[in-house]
């Protein structure tokens, strides 16, 4: 058991490309859940349309990558409107199930044989992000020091991912501290009061859904660019659950909550993974209890347990303010 290498794995995981992408998607979810109180359980659907916007534009239609990102964002806006117009008048828990169902419907259609000429069906699409990597200003083999050593490719994705996260967080900060954001929080706190002050609650909810959806689509396109492939089954509802874990861990309705949450989430997940792997292979945990091949499953079981304990004992997360977040339907 090499404890140093486990810790350095975990340290890399907490700033790696995945952490940045999940942080970005969580910033979008925070707009929905944290600031507006919308129970959007279909954030993964926005990531899906973002990712496929890039993949289909470049791999199937041969358009430039930048246009693909814009198409992805456009799809997210359309999705938010299509999803929001019927469901935002519903009670919170209905919205949750309608959005999770919408995400699954999209996934089924993207992987179906109908869509195969466009999306590649279950095989998905690959090798469409060369345009992004050609812009990579880092040319060396590896960068960093000690445990924080990344390849030029990862570093480029990380720089873009974290910059986008910070930019979007600042944008959300500006909006939330503008009158627009105050109305959003009023909607979350007491919809009736906001309505009686003459605010168009429905419209504000819809705007919030669109804004968070666009941020989610950006994260989705970055995720597709990171692995140079899209595959419908990696956009399943569990991704949304992780995003909720991240938002709640960091603290919902806090600007830096999603970022902090993602860093800690990925530290814990990579740590658990490395640790369990080392512990099973060195015999510290006998193979009669956990086998090496079960590590992935055990790690996700821990994520579930963590989400439960967090919600039971510290529902406001690390940065959150309990008073500001009364988790209740309407």
């Amino acid at each position: 058991m090499d404890f140093i290498s486990i810790l350095s794995d975990a340290a890399r995981g907490m700033f790696g490309p995945e952490a940045a992408i999940y942080a970005l998607a969580a910033v979008g979810l925070n707009v929905h859940f944290g600031y507006t109180g919308l129970l959007n359980f279909g954030q993964v659907a926005f990531m899906l349309v973002g990712a496929y916007g890039v993949a289909v534009s470049v791999a199937t239609w041969g358009l430039p990558l930048g246009v693909g990102v814009l198409i992805g964002i456009g799809c997210a806006v359309v999705l938010a409107l299509v999803l929001g117009i019927p469901t935002l008048r519903l009670r919170g828990d209905y919205l949750a199930i309608a959005t999770i169902a919408a995400g699954e419907i999209l996934r089924y259609f993207y992987r179906s044989s109908y869509a195969q000429p466009l999306t590649g069906g279950v095989y998905g699409l690959r090798q469409f992000a060369d345009g992004f990597y050609n812009l990579n200003p880092f040319t060396g083999t590896s960068y960093g020091f000690g445990a924080f050593t990344f390849s030029a490719r990862s570093l480029w994705i990380m720089v873009v991912g974290w910059s986008l996260t910070v930019l979007c967080s600042l944008l959300v900060w500006l909006l939330i501290h503008a009158p627009w954001g105050r109305v959003l929080r009023a909607v979350r706190e007491d919809e009736l009061a906001a309505r009686s002050l003459g605010k168009n609650v429905y419209g504000f909810k819809l705007q919030s859904l669109v804004l968070g959806g666009i941020i989610g689509a950006l994260a989705g396109s970055l995720l597709a660019i990171n692995v140079q492939s899209v595959q419908p089954d990696s956009y399943n509802p569990v991704v949304t659950f992780y995003l909720y874990a991240i938002v709640i861990l960091g603290g919902a309705s806090r600007i830096w909550g999603p970022v902090l949450g993602s860093v800690i989430f990925w530290f814990v997940v990579t740590f658990l993974d490395s640790f369990l792997r080392a512990a099973t292979s060195s015999g510290l945990i006998p193979s009669s209890i956990i086998e090496g091949s079960d590590v992935g499953a055990v790690r996700f079981a821990f994520v579930g347990l963590g989400l439960m304990l967090l919600m039971i004992f510290k529902p406001a997360g690390i940065l959150g303010n309990r008073k500001e977040l009364r988790l209740d339907v309407r």
Partner: protein, 476 residues
């Protein structure tokens, strides 16, 4: 008379409760181990007709240096362990391919930048076509590399076929889109299939709906009660126990009821005492669902299993309809159970109390109903019904680790279609969902049947947000 009958049922139930938990705890860990897949790259090479292609060499390289190579076995499977997560290049040796096959696209034999994440086995697909067909010219657009769905032990079979909800055992005996059979016959056949699916969804969804009605909790972990039921019955009906499936099912129902009751007592009752918010409890149930699902994956493995009894059966012909005796029995028994639940809700004391608590908890409590006892009963009944539904679903499809989660969205669709909180609504809604899913296969591919069922949910939410039997209630 009625009281005596109830007492008898209760006594049987208690007996099962006492003998079940020890036995299940002793046998679960010895269940089938998961397929071996640490950090690795793997795949199954199949020809155009899904025939495995053996003796083909696959090489994995990183930055030009070879990491390992493998040759496909008789089932077309290959796996290369890699030392650490990262990006690899996977190459298929074209010279080892059978002469009549080629890759779907030019240059598709090399897949660069296949990134392997810690702990997951990355599945890589090389699509093959017969030599007679034209190769796609576009470079690199063909090879598909899929993430092992992030959970380590998942193989392609379980992610691929599992989601469409229609593996071999669940497929109807006649092809729904085969135009040689008259349309009416196909329609009747799929209606029967729809009723079967709807009945199974209904017995699992009733518990979900009752729990929502009495506590306003949307329980995401309800699907796991379904899986637990199916898995417990599987473990007891195979080696080393070899109990008859009927007995194993009885044990499964008892375990399901016990787990349901234990959840209420250890988790939800204390949370209600802390007056936790509903969204808070909703998210706790998501965590619980993740936890249970992956524990089941750890102990049960990722394989799809069939029960040893009643799996292979001749179909019988009832007029234009073909159905196996097993499916007929499952459908009939499910409908009977639903009538039993309706009778209980309508006529017995506890059923009336349950409806009272669903209508207005405070008023029910004020009129002397022990609300906590009612809620506990609802959890026990819901758990038992979910487990029974799990066995039925396993019988008609297969037993696998995330079967409950696959069914969960259909249950939600049924519950919301019918009207949240109304048990009868959940039954009606579930039949609608089952029928929509199966009848859609008359015109559309089977892989989309769940999508149409969920679409029906959204359409109903648009037109009648309170559901078919729900009460109108304005929100927002």
């Amino acid at each position: 008379m009625r009281a005596r009958l109830m007492a008898l049922v209760a006594a049987c139930f208690l007996m099962l409760l006492v003998c079940a938990p020890g036995a299940s705890a002793a046998t679960l860990p010895s269940a089938v181990p998961a397929a071996d897949s640490g950090t690795s790259i793997k795949g199954t090479l199949e020809g155009p007709t899904d025939k495995p292609v053996p003796k083909v060499r696959v090489t994995v390289k990183q930055k030009g240096t070879s990491v390992g190579s493998a040759t496909t076995n008789a089932k077309g499977e290959w796996q290369v362990s890699v030392p650490k997560p990262g990006d690899y290049t996977v190459t298929l040796d074209v010279s080892t391919l059978p002469k009549n096959l080629q890759l779907r696209s030019k240059g598709g034999e090399t897949l660069p930048d296949v990134s392997v994440r810690p702990g997951s086995a990355r599945t890589v697909i090389f699509p093959l076509i017969p030599k007679s067909q034209q190769q796609e010219s576009e470079e690199g657009s063909s090879g598909g590399a899929t993430e092992g769905s992030g959970s380590g032990g998942t193989d392609q079979g379980s992610t691929g076929a599992g989601d469409t909800g229609a593996p071999a055992a669940g497929q109807p005996p006649i092809n729904p889109q085969d135009s040689s059979t008259p349309f009416l016959n196909r329609f009747l056949q799929m209606t029967v299939e729809g009723i079967k699916l709807g009945a199974i969804i209904a017995i699992t969804a009733v518990g979900l709906s009752l729990v929502f009605g009495t506590t306003r909790l949307i329980n995401f972990a309800h699907g796991e009660l379904v899986t637990i039921g199916a898995v417990v019955a599987y473990v007891f009906s195979t080696s080393p126990m070899h109990l008859p499936l009927v007995l194993a099912t009885a044990i499964a129902i008892a375990v399901g009821a016990l787990v349901g009751g234990a959840m209420e007592l250890s988790l939800w009752r204390p949370m209600r005492k802390k007056s936790a918010g509903l969204i808070q409890m909703f998210i706790i149930s998501i965590g619980l669902s993740l936890l249970l699902r992956h524990l089941i994956l750890t102990f049960f493995g990722s394989r799809r299993n069939q029960y040893s009894q009643y799996t292979v059966q001749e179909t019988v012909h009832l007029g234009p309809i073909q159905i196996t005796p097993r499916d007929l029995f499952v459908t009939g028994l499910s409908i009977l159970v639903l009538f039993g639940v309706a009778y209980m809700l309508q006529r017995t004391r506890i059923g009336k109390a349950t409806r009272a608590v669903s209508d207005n908890t405070d008023l029910a409590e004020a009129s002397g109903i022990d609300v906590n006892k009612v809620i506990l009963t609802v959890w026990v009944i819901g758990g038992g019904l979910a487990a029974l539904g799990g066995v039925f679903y396993g019988l008609t499809q297969a037993v696998y680790w995330d079967m409950g989660f696959n069914l969960l969205l259909l249950m939600f669709a049924g519950v919301i279609l019918g009207g949240l909180g109304s048990a009868y609504g959940a039954m009606v809604g579930s039949f609608v969902v089952g029928l929509v899913a199966q009848l859609s296969t008359l015109w559309f591919p089977v892989e989309l049947q769940n999508a149409w069922a969920l679409l029906a949910l959204i359409v109903v939410l648009l037109l009648r947000p309170q559901g078919i039997l729900g009460r109108a209630e304005r929100a927002g």
